[in-house]
């Protein structure tokens, strides 16, 4: 098998592979930089919690309308936003920190979701909701993903300085500008939007993988924020392409293949990146005068 059959043919010959490729790449454009900011705000696990939290919304849509994109997406979006708003408000208005309020709310939400799914449908349906099917993206799903990526990139560009201030020196931002809480909530909305976007392709559990793994990978490559976002997007796109090809050639489920590829990139970067383990352990044999 030549490189053409290996790398190009699967995408040219099968429309479902093309859709999957476009979906995953466009998803990476928005989700990966959002993941970078999540990581920098020490909220790496927030994505995971939110992914669990959107389940009952999707389940309610599924319960009422069956396995359809629009109701499940809207349901997930609404519940995700409610959980994000509540968790943010609880932490700002009471003594509880956001990690605890979010943990409490997502657990409530997750249990409600599992309950809802179990009320109707088989375990196959549950598997679909949890793990998605990137190979079955229809036009609506692609449009949704494209819309979410556009909104995300635009919002990040506009909020950039505010996000940097909120991460680096939140007290300073509070002292000069009252927009901090609004920026924080808007950012959480972006997180939810992107998780919902990844929902059809990768499922509720794995959509967070495309958000956080490329983000975590970037830390071993650069100390510059702009570059981190670019590297995260690149790493998301590479994972999408390689993961889909692996899934095609080896008949593996596509979602896990994409995320495991991202995981392989993470481990390789952690070991071999310029700020990684090996570079950090190797003693410098030469040094500069100043």
């Amino acid at each position: 098998m030549g490189p053409y059959e290996l790398l190009i043919a699967p995408f040219l010959e099968f429309p479902f592979m093309q859709r999957a490729l476009v979906g995953a790449i466009v998803l990476s454009l928005g989700a990966c930089p959002v993941g970078v900011f999540l990581m920098l705000r020490r909220m790496s696990l927030t994505g995971d919690a939110m992914a669990h939290a959107i389940l009952p919304g999707a389940a309610a849509g599924f319960l009422l309308f069956g396995l359809k994109l629009v109701p499940m997406t809207l349901g997930g979006l609404m519940v995700g936003l409610v959980v994000a708003l509540l968790a943010g408000s609880i932490s700002r208005l009471t003594v509880q920190r956001e990690d605890a309020s979010l943990a409490a709310l997502y657990l409530i939400s997750l249990a409600a979701g599992v309950l809802l799914v179990s009320m109707r449908g088989s375990s196959v349906d549950l598997m679909h909701v949890l793990f998605g099917t990137v190979l079955a993206l229809d036009n609506d799903a692609l449009l949704l993903i494209g819309g979410i990526a556009s909104v995300t990139l635009l919002a990040l560009a506009v909020m950039w300085r505010a996000l940097v201030a909120e991460c680096f020196d939140p007290i300073f931002l509070r002292s000069v500008n009252g927009a901090g809480p609004a920026v924080h909530l808007l950012f959480l909305m972006l997180v939810v939007l992107n998780l919902v976007g990844g929902f059809q392709a990768l499922g509720t559990l794995l959509s967070v993988g495309l958000m956080m793994l490329p983000a975590a990978t970037t830390r071993f490559w650069t100390r510059r924020l702009e570059l981190m976002c670019l590297i995260a997007i690149m790493s998301g796109i590479i994972s999408s392409i390689v993961g889909l090809l692996l899934s095609y050639h080896l008949s593996l489920p596509s979602g896990p293949s994409i995320i495991l590829t991202a995981g392989a990139l993470y481990i390789a970067s952690m070991l071999f990146g310029p700020l990684g383990l090996i570079a950090g352990q190797r003693p410098h044999r030469t040094h500069r005068t100043a």
Binding site: R161, V164, A165, I171, L173, N177, V183, M228
Partner: protein
């Protein structure tokens, strides 16, 4: 007597019903160079947060006849900053322009020139693209002073700006504080170094939850006042009577 910049009117500030600053009153004039000192837990940082508008008083009011909240630059203790954030020095300085350019406005050539000039003022020319992570404690403090410089504020609040900072950096930054003083800006700094306060700050507030003394530095830092301040008890008393009830009785 210069014009009143800030009027602290019977202010009580604190957390969860316990006062950290108790019924403090006083006036900070325009162009004042005021040191705030006192033992740990005496309410110094809390007072600055109150002046900066980050903490609402339980009682009393902090009046700002001479300025708006946004005319106040507040430099918190370094511990509040995420030093591992992947920002460059210029990114940090950009934050100093938020009041002028907003959160979303664009930064022009003139702004960049001002940032480079501020960096030069604090002795860090050429550091603009350095990651914050790689700066020493003293260098970071210089960068944060440059950010204050860019804020171009009429009131400058500095919370323990010289903790773990070497002598040369302190003397450079004190020179900058005197420059602000010369420009008729109002500077309030929380400090522990009594020698530094005696040499550099004409006015001092000795705080131990309540004002032990406030005024001319030499008089405020008299030994009997310092002993009095040290006697302050830091402990919260969950069964302490409510201040209002005590007054009525």
């Amino acid at each position: 007597m210069s014009a009143t910049m800030l009027k602290i009117d019977n202010v009580t500030l604190g957390y969860e019903g316990h006062p950290a600053v108790h019924h403090l009153s006083g006036v900070i004039g325009q162009g004042a160079l005021l040191a705030v000192c006192g033992p740990n837990g005496s309410g110094k940082s809390t007072l600055l947060k109150g002046i900066a508008g980050l903490l609402k008083p339980f009682d009393g009011a902090i009046l700002r006849p001479g300025c708006r909240t946004r005319d106040i630059a507040y430099l918190p203790q370094q511990a509040e900053i995420d030093r591992h954030f992947p920002a460059t020095v210029i990114d940090v300085l950009t934050l100093g322009l938020i009041e002028r350019r907003g959160l979303f406005g664009s930064i022009g050539k003139a702004d960049t020139a001002r940032m480079l000039e501020a960096l030069q003022t604090v002795g860090l020319s050429g550091f603009e693209m350095r990651p914050v992570e790689t700066l020493s404690g003293g260098q970071l403090q210089r960068v944060l002073f440059a950010r204050v410089l860019l804020q171009d504020a009429r009131v400058i609040l500095l919370d323990e700006p010289f903790n773990a900072i070497d002598a040369r950096t302190v003397s450079d930054l004190v020179a900058l504080i005197h420059r602000w003083h010369g420009e008729k800006r109002t500077v309030v700094a929380v400090l522990h170094d009594m020698t530094l306060i005696r040499e550099q700050f004409p006015e001092t507030l000795l705080l131990a939850r309540e004002a032990i003394a406030w005024g001319d530095t030499a008089k405020v830092l008299a030994p009997e006042n310092i002993i009095k301040a040290r006697r302050m008890t830091e402990a919260w008393d969950d069964h302490a009577p409510w201040c209002e009830d005590v007054k009525v009785a």
